[in-house]
């Protein structure tokens, strides 16, 4: 019984962390059709901002939930103004430019923080269930992922801003004709996407030892999850995170963590071969 509980928590945690990792990329790709390969480095920067803020005396939750997203969002804004806005509509070029940016940020972080592992301790202590030790922080991550999905849905579906953003996503020319500048909408979207990446990096920072290259661990997973999710932003994110998280954890428990990772990747290849437009390209069409 206890083992079942632990396994369910672990699975939910795997799904939730995939949602967190992919949310920022999903917004930028879903809304702007740009693949931000510097996404992992935005997460890495979020982690470093959190650690720096905490060492300067900020409360750890304020650092994670407010300071890191805002600062990384601002960095994203600068990047969008300087580089990405010149490349809209050129998918491959944006991928290459953001890949360059990711290398740039890795170099920058190495120069500033050094090529050493840093980290902070988890702010929530664990507890025991029967014979097993459960990390209390996992619940926090699950909670954040649920809140995040709810918020994204509410903003996109319920507010006027969300309506404008969705309109500009579908028909940028029409949005422009109605007086909403697509350029400014894209700018705001990229800010939100970067901020979400920063948030994810900050929240996951206590769980991993942070090095300047740790963004690379996230980008492939996020990339796969978003592409496999397909055109619908939130449904796709939920569907593919759920599927991949489940597969990952089943193989992790049954064989080994490495096989869990490999199974996730193999599943992604098979899925894309069968459903080249992603999960929501075939099922749940027209949802958000």
């Amino acid at each position: 019984m206890d083992l079942v509980f632990v396994i369910i928590v672990e699975m939910l945690y795997a799904v939730a962390s995939l949602v967190l990792i992919s949310a920022g990329l999903a917004i930028v790709f879903g809304m702007m059709k740009i693949i931000n390969l510097a996404h992992g480095e935005f997460m890495m920067l979020g982690g470093y901002v959190t650690i720096t803020a905490v060492s300067l005396g900020a409360n750890v939750f304020i650092a994670m939930l407010i300071i890191a997203p805002v600062i990384v969002g601002l960095i994203g804004l600068v990047v969008e103004r300087l580089v990405i806005r010149h490349l809209y509509g050129r998918l491959v070029d944006t991928m290459l430019a953001t890949w360059g940016l990711s290398l740039f940020f890795i170099g920058l972080a190495t120069t500033i923080f050094g090529n050493t592992t840093t980290g902070i301790s988890t702010p929530i202590s664990g507890f025991t269930v029967g014979d097993y030790q459960v990390n209390g922080y996992n619940f926090f991550i699950i909670l954040i992922a649920i809140v995040l999905l709810g918020l994204m849905y509410a903003v996109l579906k319920g507010t006027r801003l969300g309506l404008i953003a969705r309109g500009a996503m579908q028909l940028p020319d029409m949005a422009a004709a109605l007086g909403y500048s697509p350029e400014r909408i894209y700018m705001a979207t990229f800010f939100c996407g970067s901020a979400l990446s920063g948030l994810a990096g900050a929240i996951l920072a206590p769980l991993v030892g942070l090095v300047p290259t740790s963004g690379g661990a996230y980008i492939a997973k996020a990339f796969i999850t978003v592409i496999a999710g397909g055109p619908s932003l939130i449904t796709g994110l939920m569907a593919s995170s759920g599927l991949f998280g489940l597969i990952n954890q089943i193989f992790t428990f049954a064989v080994s963590p490495v096989m869990g990772e490999v199974a996730l990747l193999v599943a992604a290849v098979v899925l894309l071969r069968l459903l080249p437009q992603g999960v929501t390209g075939k099922f749940f069409r027209g949802r958000m």
Binding site: L103, V262, V269, R273
Partner: protein, 345 residues
């Protein structure tokens, strides 16, 4: 085709021979060898991306596969001839299977990128986790993160004790690159190559004309992988060790950067880009003022923004602007006189 054999082949061989002779006077042959190998690796992606329009995010997978195939086969066989052939064959077959899966599934751009990226990651993760003694192929232990050291390096065919190393190895690599270059040039001049460029330009149109786009893309993809595998085997011989880092994402990124900087759609561009940037990295590695990755990143961003076509096409057009017109001007003048001064030249 006639002018290809009569003009281009002798000219290429002449230039290559000249470069092969001059370069060792400026750069040591040990460094030069790896530049040549990287040139071949860049060339392999330049072929499938620049002429086939297939953006492969995992060219490093074939590079690493070639290197590992060579190392494992060399340990088991003890003579380098068959391992060299296997190192070309295994990546080619692997790429043909992978390509068939992707192209017959009609996957394009982003999805292609994801799959090639993922396959590279799978190989990287798998090879990294093979540290235990149970991972053995024949006599070769895979060695996990530490890689495989101490395999038989290149020798004269049939004589395992006559190693080819040092200067002769440099000439061996350079001549192989020349042969590969000529073979690819011939391939591109053939109807297969011209259809491949047609597919790059407009896939639907070529398909409607009755060509089997899927099979052609698969073959081209496999050819690129074979070249990358050969480069991998040469690299294994040069470094005398193979490690999982050959499969890493950073390696894949670098190959793409070489192609972009050198110039896509040209044959010489990726080679120049690869050798040039690798040498730049080598020079930068000798100083510790600025981080290496930082500079690579800046170079890539600047090239995408300001010189998206790459160095070689840019220099070629600059050449045409500054020297080409001078040759053409008299003809323009003549035509203008013949037309009675009318027309815009």
């Amino acid at each position: 085709m006639a002018s290809f054999w009569a003009k281009e082949v002798p000219a290429t061989i002449l230039v290559a021979a000249l470069l092969m002779w001059v370069m060792p006077m400026m750069i040591g042959t040990y460094t030069l060898t790896v530049l040549v190998i990287y040139g071949m690796l860049g060339f392999s992606l330049g072929l499938i991306w620049g002429f086939g329009g297939i953006l492969c995010f995992g060219q490093a997978a074939f590079f690493g596969l070639g290197a590992y195939t060579y190392a494992i086969a060399a340990i088991n066989i003890g003579d380098s001839t068959i391992p060299m052939l296997l190192a070309v064959l295994v990546p080619a077959v692997f790429a043909a299977l992978l390509g068939a899966m992707m192209f017959y599934g009609r996957l394009t751009d982003v999805y292609l990128g994801v799959i090639t990226l993922v396959v590279t990651l799978i190989l990287f993760k798998f090879i990294n986790s093979t540290a235990g003694p149970e991972y053995v192929i024949g006599k070769a232990r895979l060695g996990g993160f530490n890689g495989i050291p101490g395999f038989q390096t290149l020798n004269v065919p049939g004589q395992p004790n006559d190693y080819i190393y040092g200067d002769p190895y440099y000439y061996f690599c350079a001549i192989l690159l020349l042969i590969v270059y000529l073979l690819v040039s011939w391939l591109l001049k053939s109807s297969f190559g011209r259809v491949a460029v047609g597919i790059r330009e407009n896939e639907v149109r070529v398909a409607l004309m009755g060509y089997d786009v899927r099979a052609r893309k698969t073959v081209l993809f496999a050819a690129g992988a074979a070249i990358a595998g050969l480069a991998g085997a040469l690299f294994a011989n040069w470094g005398e060790i193979v490690t999982p880092n050959l499969f890493s994402l950073g390696q894949s990124a670098e190959i793409i950067i070489w192609c972009i900087v050198g110039g896509l759609g040209t044959r010489i561009g990726p080679i120049v880009g690869a050798a040039g940037l690798a040498y730049l990295k080598f020079l930068l590695g000798q100083q510790s003022m600025i981080d290496n990755t930082l500079l690579t990143g800046i170079i890539l961003v600047l090239f995408v923004l300001f010189l998206p076509k790459g160095l070689v096409p840019a220099i070629a057009s600059l050449w045409r602007i500054s020297f080409g017109r001078r040759r053409k001007l008299p003809r323009h003048g003549a035509r203008r006189i013949r037309n009675g001064g009318v027309g815009n030249g």
